[in-house]
């Protein structure tokens, strides 16, 4: 007898998401199908059987008819990713994706022997250390808390190489200190940096929305927030504008975009806020960058100076074989490029070895390392192999603390400002996360994921969407398809970002006030407690329960 089932065929029940569809509510308007960027839906006809009786004396009979319906396409290539755009556009609530807990998708998703790639989000590391830490030291009787509304708060962090007091070229003249020598540039900026997401990874509109938000925060609200370009360069017009001073230019192992940056230097009217050399990334440490050919649209080709193909940044900077060498070569050359007026910092993935790197940099004899950015496992917004995203990396919180303590042990805390990122603000708690990181020793934090979520990204850490690699982003945030990019309302997106940062600023004061501090409490670990003994021990903060 011929089998009526082929178990190797893929059906809806094998996929991560099943589309729940109510035929009785559907008006067949077709909006869901035209909206679905993954082509996971199609119009079909189904045969239906009814039992009817159309005589006075009941005489039931079966009749058949065909009706048009919306169907999920059950293939890996056109699978539903749960983005929910169909639900968003349906006028009758007739359709929605539903998570399938019995999915076998991760077993099936290996066509042509290729590993799974997806948008940069870890889906296995969703526990958050920061949520197990509380601000437990509240000023009271002898040291009253401040008034968050009325007191002046100094919420600025250094970006640039800070000299120790014994290294400062001070001379005393007439009982006054005078500077007699050169000092590395240090900029005091807002303690939250908009992290490096490239044009390419983001749509031009999404990137621009972040730029606009940065400019508004600086120019209108006096919040010196800096934005990092990400690898891949920037528009020439922006490099020639006064807004360049709010931008940190990134160079990563692919060196994409730097040709244009260097050529634009003579036309720059302002110095950039800094240079960030990306060595590694927390979400996919040791795996380099990856921009899929699908996203290398014509304008991306132009900015980066490359043809359309998968753009891989190598996992390391070819030609750098030691920390010492990186200090000498990269830092020196980038410092020299801007004539030592622009701080140059480094970003590495949090790792068991990152403290050794920091220790080594702290001994930098040339005073040219302007910041140490540590990126943890929960960071990342770009494309990568799933195995990297889910299984490689190191949580950032304890590593920032380790790095700070290492600096304390050398008496060099603060000399190379320490910035932590990778999941900071992940759940929308940016102010609290940043505040806790700062108490643990960070000078500030950098954040990316929350920004794209504010722009409209609907992805999450539970496997929803995460298709940033495909160029099919349903929200227009991480695609280069101009039709999809139209979905993003750039003004609204920028406004949302600005409003969020304004509220973060207020929340920050609401955290500084109770501990009685008007300056950032960098290293004030005594202000924190953890409700987890293991975390408390590891971070050297009090345990409380």
């Amino acid at each position: 007898m011929e089998a009526n089932i082929k178990i190797n065929d893929i059906t809806e029940n094998d996929l991560n998401w099943k589309v729940e569809y109510d035929n009785t509510r559907c008006t067949r308007c077709g909006r869901c199908i035209s909206t679905c960027t993954f082509h996971a839906l199609e119009m079909k006809v189904e045969r239906r059987a009814y039992t009817v009786s159309d005589t006075k004396v009941p005489a039931p009979k079966r009749v058949f008819s065909t009706i048009p319906v919306v169907k999920q396409i059950a293939t890996i290539k056109q699978k539903c990713v749960g983005c929910g755009m169909c639900e968003k556009v349906c006028p009758n609530q007739a359709i929605k994706p539903v998570r399938n807990i019995d999915t076998r998708e991760n077993l099936l998703n290996h066509e042509l022997g290729s590993p799974i790639k997806r948008g940069g989000r870890t889906n296995l590391s969703i526990e958050r250390t920061l949520d197990r830490i509380k601000v437990g030291r509240i000023s009271q009787m002898t040291d009253p808390s401040l008034d968050a509304q009325r007191h002046t708060f100094d919420m600025l962090s250094p970006f640039g190489r800070v000299l120790g007091p014994e290294e400062l070229p001070f001379k005393i003249e007439n009982d006054e200190l005078k500077i007699k020598g050169s000092i590395p540039p240090v900029h005091w900026i807002y303690p939250i940096i908009f992290a490096d997401m490239s044009i390419g990874a983001l749509s031009t509109r999404a990137w621009e929305a972040i730029c606009i938000a940065t400019a508004i925060l600086n120019e209108k609200y006096n919040m010196p927030v800096r934005m990092c370009s990400g690898e891949g360069g920037m528009p020439i017009k922006l490099m020639q504008s006064k807004y360049l001073k709010y931008m940190i230019l990134q160079i990563a192992s692919g060196h994409f975009g730097w040709n244009r940056i260097i050529k634009a230097m003579p036309q720059m009217t302002e110095d950039p806020a800094g240079i960030l050399i990306k060595i590694g990334q927390g979400a996919k440490p040791g795996d380099g960058g990856l921009l899929m050919a699908a996203k290398v649209a014509r304008h991306i080709q132009e900015i980066r100076g490359v043809p359309r193909s998968d753009l891989l940044s190598p996992p390391n900077h070819q030609g750098l074989y030691s920390i010492e060498e990186s200090v000498q070569k990269m830092f020196l050359s980038f410092n020299a490029a801007f004539q030592f007026r622009v701080p140059v910092a480094i970003k590495v993935a949090a790792s068991s070895s990152s403290v050794s790197v920091y220790n080594n940099l702290l001994r930098d004899p040339y005073h040219i390392v302007g910041g140490f950015f540590l990126d943890g496992i929960q960071g990342g917004t770009g494309a990568a192999h799933e195995v990297s995203l889910d299984h490689t990396g190191h949580p950032v919180v304890s590593k920032v603390r380790d790095a700070y303590i290492a600096a304390v042990n050398q008496g060099k805390q603060g000399r190379i400002p320490l910035w932590g990122g990778g999941g900071v603000g992940l759940t929308g708690t940016m102010a609290a996360d940043a505040f806790k990181m700062i108490c643990l020793g960070a000078n500030g934090v950098f954040t990316g994921k929350i920004l794209i979520q504010l722009l409209g990204c609907i992805g999450n850490e539970n496997g929803r969407c995460n298709q940033c690699n495909t160029g099919l982003c349903p929200t227009g945030v991480t695609t280069q398809d101009y039709r999809l990019v139209q979905r993003l309302d750039i003004d609204k997106a920028a406004e949302t970002l600005v409003n969020y940062m304004l509220s973060v600023d207020t929340e920050f004061r609401k955290l500084m006030a109770p501990i009685g501090n008007s300056s950032l409490p960098v290293g004030r670990s005594d202000a924190l407690v953890s409700v987890d003994k293991g975390i408390a021990d590891k971070l050297q903060i009090p345990y409380a329960c």
Binding site: T152, L156, S518
Partner: protein, 370 residues
């Protein structure tokens, strides 16, 4: 809240004046301790101004440890010893030690011709080593070992402590031109003798009133700066170490102390003519900011007296003077007792943006931070 004060006088005076300065400021349960540092000594100590004076308290066993140690370090010749005229009473409300010592030593032969710096070094090393030795068996405390400086610290009711050392009764034996004092109410940390201000290090002495919310930051940074920055039994010790570090180690003018411990907000630095320097100080010494409600009163090695407060200015302080005396203290009622006839309209209530400096000629200067 601690009650602190410092008196500076043209003429040498008896410590009873300092006790009277503090007495009306007592309230509630100010019974946790008492400490006094006297500098520029007269009376029985006047002949020994150049020689180091060791102030300590200990058990009987500790006395032996100290004696042996000082011999070993070459301080073999005890030139003079003050034995306070203790007033014995059946019940005192304080934890009495077996022995209190105030010994003046000759320098060891080997260092006699040494430089001032070398002598300073050996005095500091000796005190630190002695302290470590005594801590091993909890047999004693050594508070200062420095020329022309005498320290008493004890835990308990300050009035009783003063009475036991017979400090309430004026005489001509124990006199100084500068006396710093604290009636302590230390509520934050376990009360130990070393936690009582004033603190002393190589000629600098200082006491403070308030909370150093950046204590952990200060401490973590200071630990690596100098071997003398130890203990940290009180968050106010940090202010002394910062003062010593800037003035003694970095040799920066004293005016920058204020800029380090209570830096101007960035907005005000931006308007300041010296902004480049102030930015660099703020960057470089971010871990020495105090950022808490504080008033600091101190004496520099040359006995210049000063007071500074932080920007929250929640700790009171007032400076009052007549022709012969200037006193800085927590509350004005103390001034009213020791300087009842002064011109009160000239009292100075320092603000959060100034350092008040009193020179040895009793000139009161108000240095503006902005």
């Amino acid at each position: 809240m601690c009650r602190i004060g410092c008196i500076k006088s043209i003429e040498p005076f008896h410590p009873s004046k300092a006790l009277y300065l503090m007495l009306p400021q007592q309230e509630g349960h100010d019974n946790s301790g008492f400490a006094i540092v006297m500098k520029d000594l007269y009376g029985i100590f006047e002949p020994y101004k150049e020689l180091p004076l060791l102030s300590f308290s200990c058990t009987n066993k500790g006395k032996e440890i100290i004696s042996n140690f000082m011999l070993k370090k070459g301080f073999s010749k005890k030139i003079f010893t003050w034995e306070p005229d203790f007033v014995e009473k059946e019940h005192y409300d304080f934890a009495k030690m077996d022995f209190y010592g105030f010994d003046v030593f000759n320098y060891p032969e080997s260092i006699l011709k040494g430089s001032v710096k070398e002598k300073e070094e050996i005095l500091l090393n000796t005190r630190l080593e002695l302290r470590k030795l005594l801590e091993k068996t909890a047999d004693g405390y050594v508070f200062s070992f420095w020329p022309d400086t005498l320290t008493i610290k004890e835990i308990g009711n300050p009035n009783d402590i003063g009475e036991y050392f017979n400090l309430w009764k004026e005489n001509k034996d124990i006199l100084a031109k500068n006396i710093m004092i604290q009636y302590r109410q230390n509520t934050n940390y376990e009360i130990v003798r070393y936690a009582a201000h004033p603190f002393f290090l190589q000629g600098y002495t200082l006491c403070a009133n308030g909370e150093n919310t950046f204590y952990v930051k200060n401490k973590e940074y200071q630990q690596s700066l100098h071997k003398g920055y130890i203990g940290f039994e009180s968050d106010s010790q940090c202010f002394l170490y910062t003062l010593h570090y800037l003035h003694h180690e970095l040799k920066w003018p004293f005016a920058y102390y204020k800029h380090v411990i209570t830096p101007l907000p960035f907005e005000e630095i931006e308007e300041h003519p010296d902004k480049q320097i102030l930015y660099k100080i703020r960057e470089s010494l971010a871990h020495l900011e105090i950022n808490g409600p504080n008033t600091v009163i101190g004496l520099l090695p040359d006995n210049t007296m000063f007071t500074v407060c932080d920007s929250k200015k929640l700790r009171p302080v007032v400076v009052g003077a007549d022709n012969k005396i200037v006193a800085i203290t927590s509350e004005v009622n103390g001034l009213n007792v020791i300087l009842p006839d002064r011109d009160k309209t000239k009292d100075v209530y320092p603000n959060e943006r100034e350092t008040v400096v009193v020179t040895n000629e009793l000139r009161i200067e108000r240095w503006k931070q902005i």
